[in-house]
Symmetry: C2
């Protein structure tokens, strides 16, 4: 049991093993979290970026549904438990140095993901001319 | 000039403005960084997850090419400057609470992105049966 709860995953090994090996040894940050990008398994659309602690990742693997760590609420977060927008994991991937996860999911309920009611959290484009930038919903 | 270098972006406003407004006011973390997901503009494939400080984001907006902050090297990182894998930004998006960016890019050079030589950093699938998990390159 660490400061951040139990971590059932093996500690990250040397670089070659981390990058080419078959062992899942996620590199949680100093805050105990790993970044997770979640996409729509059917369309590839990026739905959200969230974070997992070891327990959330373990539950995601065990249940096949996405669990995150809510930084704002400071608690484990079974996505969709209240909204019905449960995310069933169709595929999980991890990056080269094992500090980022990718979930390809199927979203239940109304298919939404963002707390603002949109399907994706990335509903605004950054438009710029030179150094100036503004956000445009599209 | 803050602890993390100059930050030319306005400070994040109230929630409604942050989520629905037209002002780019990125929420950098305590480490001065914001998460950035980078995808292939043509195919939608997720290439990498990296981080930007305010200067990297400013340079990305100004130049139309992806700049990141390398946490391992502790320095500003013009992606592709040495490898030729320059990322030209075709579209930039930001999420609801402005703590994650999405870049859709066109990659120059050999079209690669990962330092291991692969096109994407997410070259391994997490396969699981119950609680056990292993990584498979595919």
């Amino acid at each position: 049991m660490s400061l951040f709860g139990s971590n059932p995953f093996p500690a990250p090994g040397p670089k070659a093993e981390l990058e080419e090996g078959a062992v899942l040894s996620p590199r949680f940050g100093a805050d105990g979290l790993i970044t997770c990008v979640t996409t729509d398994a059917a369309t590839g659309e990026i739905l959200m970026v969230a974070h997992m602690n070891a327990e959330a990742l373990e539950k995601t693997i065990e249940t096949g549904e996405a669990w995150y760590w809510s930084r704002s609420r400071g608690e484990l977060w079974h996505k969709g438990a209240t909204s019905g927008q449960i995310q069933t994991v169709k595929e999980m991937r991890i990056d080269c140095d094992q500090d980022a996860l990718l979930l390809k999911v199927e979203v239940a309920g109304d298919g939404g993901c963002c707390h603002t009611g949109r399907r994706s959290c990335f509903y605004r484009k950054v438009e710029s001319s030179g150094a100036a930038a503004r956000l445009v919903v599209d």
